[in-house]
């Protein structure tokens, strides 16, 4: 799978007639400059040689040098990745816990008020442009009500008075490890709004998938038996039904994660979150080609690993699934 990802990113970056050489050579390049750029980028060699060079470079962790920041792309990406992961993880937890609970509740009250409410919330969640929702939340809760900060990851004064040593790159974890509770609460305060904006779409997805699957399971004979035995509804729902709906729940989780991953790109721009999304957006504006491709490769590789974990987890949880 990783090889496939490499092959496609290679095709996109080397074969599509977007002319990276012209971009690399700067604005208004001469034919000579383009030729030199082609030679520097190795674009004059045969395609299979280019692919070989590309893969060996990648295996050595060489993603090229950013045109905009002049740093190696890998180190730029590493800095942004921690911030993005912190945001995604938080949003993911909101989406999954909320999504599964609402999905189960909705299914068990099918066609009644809680179900209608759950469905409307879920369908609105998957119908909104996430970046637009982020802006609306920012306007209402940060600008008008002043409950949350407008953006950023830490308040400037807090980060100056209580400097944080980077251990994991996750501010929440680092501040806890150091016992620095001012930074902890400030980080959390900055995290809530972007996380909610990011969580909305995957939340909607999870509710919809869990609800559909639960409705199927609740019609099975064993559910009827459990009901006839007089087991309490809570036990039927969470012990019997959800267990059998686990397959699609795990798929929902995987999809939620995937959407958070790219959704974060847009969310970060709105909330000035110093992660990969902001980095990519700036790279796009600057036509910083190696930076864009580097980010795409890292995120895609990350996604492949997560998918593998989802498959393994699914096989562990559900004996009907074999790898």
């Amino acid at each position: 799978m990783i090889i496939g990802v490499l092959l496609i990113t290679f095709l996109v970056s080397h074969v599509i007639p977007g002319n990276p050489a012209a971009l690399y050579a700067g604005s208004h390049p001469t034919a000579q400059e383009i030729q030199t750029a082609k030679e520097t980028l190795g674009l004059n060699k045969p395609v299979y040689v280019q692919f070989y060079i590309y893969v060996t470079d990648l295996l050595q962790g060489n993603l090229g040098v950013s045109i905009r920041t002049h740093n190696p792309v890998l180190s730029d990406v590493a800095v942004g990745l921690a911030a993005t992961l912190e945001l995604i993880t938080f949003a993911f937890v909101i989406a999954v816990v909320g999504g599964v609970l609402v999905g189960v509740y909705s299914a068990s009250h099918r066609d009644h008020l809680p179900d209608h409410f759950g469905r409307v919330v879920a369908i609105l969640g998957v119908s909104m442009a996430p970046f637009w929702l982020a802006m609306i939340l920012q306007l209402i809760f940060a600008q008008t009500l002043g409950l949350f900060p407008l953006g950023g990851r830490l308040s400037t004064d807090v980060s100056i008075i209580y400097p944080l040593r980077t251990i994991t790159g996750f501010n929440l974890i680092d501040s806890l490890l150091e016992g620095n509770f001012v930074v902890f609460s400030d980080s959390l305060w900055h995290l809530i709004l972007p996380a909610i904006a990011l969580a909305t779409y995957p939340f909607g997805l999870t509710v919809r998938m869990v609800r559909t699957m639960m409705i199927e399971v609740l019609q099975e004979n064993y559910t009827r038996s459990a009901l006839a035995w007089g087991l309490p509804q809570r036990i039927i729902l969470f012990k019997y039904a959800l267990k059998n709906a686990i397959s699609s729940t795990v798929i929902a989780l995987g999809m939620s994660f995937a959407y958070s991953l790219t959704g974060a790109f847009l969310d970060e721009i709105i909330f000035v979150w110093p992660g990969l999304g902001t980095y990519t957006a700036l790279s796009i504006l600057a036509l910083d080609y190696p930076a864009i491709m580097g980010t795409v490769i890292v995120v895609a590789a990350f996604y492949v690993v997560i998918n593998l974990l989802v498959d393994i987890f699914q096989a562990l949880m559900d004996p009907r699934v074999t790898l």
Binding site: M1, G4, V5, L7, I8, T9, V12, S13, I16, G18, P20, S108, R110, D111, I123, L124, V126, S127, M128, A129, P130, F131, W132, L133, M135, I136, Q138, L139, Q143, L150, T212, I215, E216, L218, Q219, T223, R224, L227, Q233, A258, Y259, L261, T262, F265, L266, I269, I270, T280, A281, I284, L285, Y289, I292, M293, V296, V299, A300, Y303, V304, N307
Partner: protein, 303 residues
């Protein structure tokens, strides 16, 4: 005698099919949410067709500035307010409907036309051809949604055509996979065996017997995907990889509106609202069809 028997059975079959269609229509129509969805889609379609006649300021919608009325809040004269060039946002939102519907239909339509036959062929032939096609498909599916489109669009350079191309490149594998699983399920059914037995060629079987069987789930998926395609185009436009100014594109309007947003809330709010309502329409309608087709979701409940 035999002829008569065949005639009756085909008559019965027709009745059966008629009944199914009626049940299906009834489900779709009696579900109020699906009607709301359909109504939304129809309204936006009408706006897309008659936009130039409905919009109060059609010239401004296409980009002509009106510098006297810059950034005015919503009023009777400008129900959605005006933007930084004094253009009426309502008119631009109305013009955006056409662009959104055309781009999303182009993306989903092309992806469907490329993806479905590939999946049907892969599923029917299996073996080598099938596994080659599905390997390639899996490679594309290994990217999180939108990420590959972002890379392709960034390489091609920002324009609405390139955004559409980038999304087609990343969208077709989903239909291939869907058609593949359907084709796998149909290829050994008696009527396909029968066709093979009387000497119908493989290509004809794929076109006449396998592809129609894949159609129902694919059309449901396509309805839902029209909504996601609109969101994806908007996301690319928002990143500057889609439509370029002064195109009246919703995603682009939200993006430019972002610069003014905290003082002039109406600028980005209304185009975003338009995206939400139209996507909601597709989702409601698509959900209703899916529920009508899927027997497992029938209205029978215990708890």
């Amino acid at each position: 005698m035999t002829e008569q028997k065949t005639a009756t059975s085909s008559q019965e079959q027709n009745d059966q099919r008629f009944k199914e269609t009626r049940v299906f229509l009834k489900l779709v129509v009696t579900n109020p949410l699906s009607l709301i969805g359909l109504a939304i889609i129809v309204v936006f379609l009408l706006l897309a067709i008659f936009g130039p006649y409905v919009a109060p300021y059609p010239i401004q919608a296409e980009g002509a500035p009106d510098l006297v009325h810059q950034l005015l809040p919503p009023s009777w004269q400008f129900p959605f307010g005006t933007d930084e060039f004094g253009r009426d946002i309502l008119s631009r939102v109305i013009f955006g409907a056409r662009l959104s519907l055309i781009t999303s239909a182009a993306i989903v339509g092309s992806a469907l036309i490329i993806g479905t036959p590939l999946g049907a062929v892969a599923g029917y032939y299996g073996e080598k051809i099938g596994s080659i096609i599905m390997r390639i498909t899996d490679m594309f599916l290994a990217f999180p949604p939108l990420l590959l489109a972002l890379a392709v669009a960034a390489t091609l350079g920002g324009s609405i055509i390139n955004a559409v191309l980038a999304l087609i490149v990343t969208w077709w594998p989903w239909y291939t996979r869907l058609a593949y699983s359907q084709a796998l399920a149909t290829r050994n059914l008696p009527y396909v065996d029968a066709a093979r037995a009387i000497g119908v060629g493989d290509p004809v079987i794929v076109v006449r017997h396998i592809m129609p069987a894949t159609l129902a789930p694919i059309l449901v998926q396509a309805t839902l995907d029209l909504g996601s395609a609109i969101l994806s185009v908007a996301a690319l436009s928002f990143l500057g990889l889609g439509a370029q100014p002064p195109t009246p594109d919703w995603g682009l309007m939200v993006n430019t509106g972002r610069l003014f947003f905290l003082q002039y809330w109406w600028y980005a709010t209304f185009p975003g609202l338009a995206i939400m309502v139209l996507v909601l329409g597709f989702n409601l309608f698509g959900d209703a069809i899916r529920e009508a087709i899927d027997p497992k979701l029938s209205r029978r409940r215990l708890i």
